[in-house]
């Protein structure tokens, strides 16, 4: 039974993280393990210490190797998921909007792009005016014309995000209102909708 794909691929079609070069030819290992019960039982292995054993040492090693590979893959997937969780935490979104993997990736890209844009325009204007306030101005401009959903505070900066939920809850709006006011911002930025 030949495997058409010898290396273990996860659902995202990516085996680049499987860096273990010590397992030779996974395909053959899998095949061997699959036929272990029929073949190796009958095989009298003269190399093993006890030639009369049912399972040869090779079969045991193969099985252990497979188990190790499974564990490694599980750990790899776990660390990947943890990284996703960390990314989700810092992306501005309502807690009720649970982001899928694809959503976090896309939203992260948009968010980075957005921050860079703000930073660039901030930098250009910083030479003629005081730095910190200009960032807020650019954000309010983007808010009016950029088609973002609503405003929350992230990292002490009033920022915008796009969510499935069009309006802030009253508690959420209140919270941002308080902090925005302390930053010296006026009312219009708190406006919850303007949903495109």
């Amino acid at each position: 039974m030949r495997e058409e794909d010898p290396s273990p691929m996860d659902s995202a079609g990516n085996s680049e993280e499987e860096t273990d070069r010590q397992l030779p030819r996974r395909g053959s290992r899998k095949r061997r393990a699959a036929r272990r019960s029929t073949e190796d039982e009958e095989e009298v292995d003269t190399q093993s210490p006890n030639p009369g054993r049912r399972k040869t040492e090779r079969a045991v090693m193969a099985e252990a190797g497979r188990v190790m590979a499974n564990i490694r893959e599980r750990q790899r997937t776990q660390s990947l998921n943890e990284a996703f969780t960390s990314l989700r935490k810092i992306i501005p979104t309502l807690p009720s909007d649970k982001l899928s993997k694809i959503q976090t990736l896309k939203l992260a890209a948009r968010y980075i792009d957005f921050l860079c844009q703000v930073l660039q325009s901030d930098e250009m204007d910083a030479r003629s005016s005081s730095c910190s306030y200009v960032a807020h101005e650019k954000l309010s401009y983007a808010f009016q014309f950029g088609g973002w959903g609503s405003v929350v505070l992230v990292h002490n900066i009033p920022l915008m995000f796009q969510t499935a939920d069009p309006a802030l809850s009253p508690a959420e709006a209140e919270e941002t209102a308080t902090v925005l006011v302390s930053c010296g911002e006026s009312g219009p930025l708190i406006c919850p909708s303007a949903q495109t």
């Binding site: 995202a12 990314l87 810092i90 960032a135 900066i157």
Partner: protein
């Protein structure tokens, strides 16, 4: 009744094809995210785990920079209380700024140093 193209069968798109499309979309999103993260060299290919982690730290870094409006003194270090956390983006922008100053001085001499921020 199988259609003659691809692996589409009677049910339309088979589960396997669907999964492949989904996975392909995820990979595409990964690649797009990769392009936004500044690396040395710029075309260095990051693994999935690397893009996720670097994206997190880059977003944090940008947010810190925006908050302080100044990239010169490693704003990320100021925000986090531990000295152990080094922000690679703070360092590389510092280095870039130093290099820009150097290049500027080479080109223009000492007189216009200020304008080449």
């Amino acid at each position: 009744m199988d259609l003659s193209f691809g692996s589409e069968g009677r049910a339309g798109i088979t589960g396997n094809t669907q999964e492949r499309h989904r996975a392909h979309n995820v990979n595409t999103a990964f690649n797009e995210l990769r392009t936004l993260i500044p690396t040395k060299p710029m075309d260095r290919k990051l693994s999935k785990i690397e893009t996720l982690r670097l994206a997190s730290s880059y977003i944090t870094h940008l947010a810190n920079v925006l908050g302080d409006g100044d990239r010169r003194d490693q704003p990320c270090l100021r925000t986090s209380k531990q000295d152990r956390n080094i922000c690679t983006f703070c360092l590389s922008s510092q280095r870039k700024e130093a290099k820009d100053k150097q290049d500027c001085m080479k080109l223009h001499g000492h007189r216009v140093r200020q304008s080449c921020r």
